[in-house]
């Protein structure tokens, strides 16, 4: 009868094993947050496209162009808080057929008197179309440095997968421009 062991019998080694197991659980949970939860979140976002965050560059693919299915693609440009640049799409909307390669440009100008670096972060709506929206070239893959007063036309080349769900007729692609000058300085100062 295990429950009728005496007090002393229970104590011997008992506390030690409880403490060790509990501490292992604590360390395990801590590790799980950093190497489990965070990568899991990013993977889920990537697989499902939930956040509309499109990922890296893809190769140009030889899709059969679906001539009879025009998709409206709208472009939005937003400045994050305190970002002083002028930032806008050169065309607000294009009609793209699934499969074809489309090029558009965004305009950015550093209106300030100091050299700055920016990073554009994309978001796609509806998010279900994220896995079908392939970018072969995008300014969002790289950071964009601009000297004081300088301006630039930044290119975006994309291709819509013909497997795009039928109900999608309009895709909105939004870019938010972040000022990362400080992070750049920190990073370049380190090595």
């Amino acid at each position: 009868m295990s429950e009728h062991r005496t007090d002393t019998e229970r104590k011997s080694g008992g506390h030690h094993s409880v403490v060790v197991k509990s501490l292992l659980a604590v360390v395990g949970m801590l590790a799980f947050v950093f190497v489990g939860l965070v990568p899991m979140y990013n993977l889920i976002c990537e697989w499902t496209g939930v956040t509309g965050r499109t990922t890296g560059a893809s190769e140009v693919q030889n899709f059969v162009v679906a001539e009879d299915r025009p998709i409206k693609v709208q472009f939005l440009a937003t400045n994050n808080a305190d970002m002083p640049w002028e930032f806008r799409p050169m065309v607000k909307q294009v009609t793209a057929k699934p499969g074809e390669l489309v090029q558009v440009n965004f305009y950015a100008r550093n209106k300030t008197r100091r050299d700055m670096t920016a990073q554009a972060i994309p978001s796609l709506s509806p998010f279900e179309s994220t896995p079908y929206f392939h970018k072969t070239e995008c300014f969002c893959f790289n950071q964009q440095p601009l000297a004081a007063g300088e301006d630039v036309e930044m290119g975006l080349v994309f291709q819509i997968d013909p497997d795009l769900p039928d109900w999608v007729r309009t895709i909105s692609l939004s870019y938010t421009l972040y000022d990362i000058t400080e992070q750049q300085e920190v990073a370049s100062a380190k090595p």
Binding site: E3, T6, D7, H15, S22, V33, I121, F127, T176, Q183
Partner: protein
Amino acid sequence: MTTATHDHDHAHHGPAKGITRWLYTTNHKDIGTMYLWFSFAMFLLGGTFAMVIRAELFQPGLQLVQPEFFNQMTTMHGLIMVFGAVMPAFVGLANWMIPMMIGAPDMALPRMNNLSFWILPFAFAMLASTLFMEGGAPNFGWTFYAPLSTTYAPPSVTFFIFAVHIMGASSIMGAINIVATILNMRAPGMTLMRMPLFVWTWLITAYLLIAVMPVLAGVVTMMLMDIHFGTAFFNAAGGGSPVLFQHVFWFFGHPEVYIMILPAFGIVSAIIPAFARKQLFGYSSMVYATASIAFLSFIVWAHHMFTVGIPFLGEAFFMWATMLIAVPTGVKVFNWVTTMFRGSMTFETPMLFAVCFVVLFTIGGFSGLMLAVAPADFQYHDTYFVVAHFHYVLVPGAVFSIMAAVYYWLPKWSGKMYNETLGKVHFWLSFVGVNVLFFPQHFLGLAGMPRRIPDYALQFADFNMISSIGGFLFGASQLLFLYIVVHTIVAGKPAKAKPWDGAEGLEWSVPSPAPYHTFETPPDIDKAPQLDRKEP
């Protein structure tokens, strides 16, 4: 080994004299007392902040404080009440009662017990000191969502982060201690399924703490790295995501809300049978219901974030999983009501608080069920309806259960009986105060008043004034509580070893006040017939 020698050293005399008794103590009763007084001090501090909030909201417009300070008040009120008042109070009760309930001489790890208490005052001194810093105290809400708590945080956020680290370490040590005590130090014959429910609920709570306090520590560490070391966990510009913060936070935060209510279930399950003079109905179903609630708490976190943009299937899953929690909770409420059914009930102060807990906690549960409905939540999200909901489960829920526990066990702790009339006055003032305070907030929320704002549109004025009056009444009646407790200790009439007719459990088999050392030789459980859990 340490415990054994310690017990022998002190077997024939009482505690050491002076301040060192409290600084160096490894006695579970001393540490429990310190936890309870500390939590009461934090309850008054957090309550003061709440009074500032309610005073500002007494009328529309800005009267007393600036919006920046108002935000610091809501943040500090939440943090202090959650981590400083409710959690340490339950740990204090665990320290006092668990060894006495299972027939153990002390906690399993007495020195760690001392450490886990004594780091708490430092954590909260550090947190409270941020009020006097340049840039003010944390102002981002107790949920400290990024980027409010990272990019836009006041400089004092670093002190907040370290304070949370210390609180987390304290809670983890306390939890490990409780698990070791319950698993290893039960008296012979005290099988798991004969343990009082307070011990059971604390065992499960302790496992929850061990599982999720590291998650809290992890999330504040990520904040620290984002703020000071250039990482980008929660910064979209660097490839991170602020939504990630909410997921990690609520993965901790939802089990946390059960950490604050499961021990309350245990307390109520001890008090209701005592004053209904009947055995608790459905003991084993209570145990399984508690375990189910604990399990479900890990898979419902995203119901706090229905509006951030979760796919349809995700919303549906988290909605149904959340509603599922109503089943084990309903089992508990059913059992409490059935325990009272046809019992010989009397309504002394602990019973008043316990019965009130059952009713008002259930109201809080029902508004929780309303919030769980994802499409409806789009309307309720971040309104006063949410404030009303979680205050109903935390104040007349958790806090009332702690007060019930204090009235119920105070005769055992102090050896003195409290003044029953004053206790009842305290109960009725608190009961009326809490309902006048929080019930109108349901209407405010449904009408669309957002949370965390210092000023509001005119149509919300009447209900806010009523709510504030209730707040002042509730706040003031807690001073009466302080008076009652101090008066009992100083001038109460001597209490019997078992002052309550129908009370069950080993703690009533020792004299009142409980001697400094109890159960140095384990009691014989099999000769304590009131512990026999055989159900009819």
